[in-house]
Amino acid sequence: MLALVVTWAAFAISLVLLFQVLNDGPIRYFFGGWAPPWGIEYRIDALNGFVLVIVGFVSAAVLLFAGPSVGKEIREGHQHLFYAMVMLLLAGLYGMAITGDAFNVFVFLEIASLASYALIAMGKDRRALTAAFQYLVLGTVGATFFLIGIGLLYAMTGTLNMVDMAERIHGIHGSRTVLTAFAFLTVGIALKAAVFPMHYWLPGAYAYAPSVVSALLAGTATKVAVYLLLRFIMIFGADFAYVALPLGATLTVLAAVGILIASSSAILQNDAKRLLAFSSVAHLGYIILGIGLGNDTGVTGGILHMFNHALAKGAVFLAMGAVMLQIGTTHINRLQGLGRVMPWTMAGFTAAGLSLIGVPLTAGFVSKWYIVTAAIDRGWWPLVLVMVASSILAVFYIWRIIDAVYFSAPGPGAENVKEAPMTMLAALWMLAGASVYFGIDSSFPASVASKAAAIVLAQMP
């Protein structure tokens, strides 16, 4: 209960912060009263203000949902610890997004990671343990790469504060160390963000984690990692990242391949949660694609897609959580006929699923449209084809679930299944509804995203 209040409060605060930032420009807060670069500061601008809102919104919905689901999936004696862990995870994510100090990012990254390793391992299936271990090893390697990157930067600039670093880095752009630092930071972050081909840990982790954790991680954790990528592009300067380095091209190619492979693998999955996990990898591909395009529309689309995907993926994972609560599995064959007995859950799932496909009038369409336009602007036609192809693939994999839910005869025992409790439905519809609403009227997130994109690309020639 307390956890719920805290997350809602944090969500409210993050909204207030975002509006304040939009009106008054960046907010800075110095810890211990020491001015940076000697002390640590919090620095909020349109970009991370937006990320904070994403985390806040998803977590508020998930915590509203959590009660019955956690009650079923987590042992009684562990529940208080479980909630403590969720809170720590959120603290880590908020911290990563809000801080203005490179090393502080590492510390919060580790808080969030340790919490998520433990949370994933709480899954009922024993494969959750190995999935968590795999994530732990890769995550730690990623974090250590990140640390190497920070170390190299520190050796070159003598500072850890992001703003200060960005200023001092300009004089030494040609340096090989800076190039290497950028490479290590990118690889480290990419491991955390599950950017293809470093997505190896993600499907297992999402599929076997408790439902609440899947929804939370899918909606927030990778988004924050992508934000870090953007932030470091800012520190190095967009002109450096895109013009001096083949970052844009590399990211785009990887993203395009990743989208196709992940979408095709999603079709082959038999477990709905695992299917959705692969779809997450594909959608991260879209976000990265938008960023990789490196023009204003593309980055706006990428940032916007972070928001939209967080809403939609959060909603579908919550729907799966409701299914898990009522029938104890998310295997596609067992979902048959649930559309009749759990109409509200499945309607929510469908709305969010349409947004994942990118059907017009849903949020997913808007951000995909931005990205496609950006690709056309750059004249990169193959990418447009990739986007279209993967949307068709998405139709297939979402359809597999919808087909089972609505157009198959109910399996044995389906008559006894009841609709999910009210609070869970409310949470689910909060996310699904938002994802439809922002599809019809996308002016608010789109304007914030384009402001954020402008910050990222500020130094573009």
Binding site: E110, R126, F133, L136, V137, V141, G151, Y154, L160
Partner: protein
Amino acid sequence: MWILGTYNYWIFITLMMIGLYIVIVRGNLVKKIIGLNIFQSSVFLFFISVGKISDGTAPIILHDGGEAIYSNPLPHVLILTAIVVAVSTSALALSLIVRIHESYGTIQEDLIREAERAP
């Protein structure tokens, strides 16, 4: 001369390679964790060596009147934090390993994969 001047980085890189190699290659989960520790320690070594100043001394201010050169304290602070993080990670990883051993009966990666395919 250049190679001699940066030998600390060479040691760091070699250690890092060994650690990373253990992490990737060894199928035993405990060994993976030990490899991870070596990998992380090598990065610590790198940070600390960045902070070293020739003829410097530990950054504890002395009051014997003499002008001492102190090594850079900032990397020390960072690495203290990182060591704590590393030990926390290891502890969590080890408890995961114990749980994996309980439910699979082995801590060899390939045997676990076989067991996962079977059920």
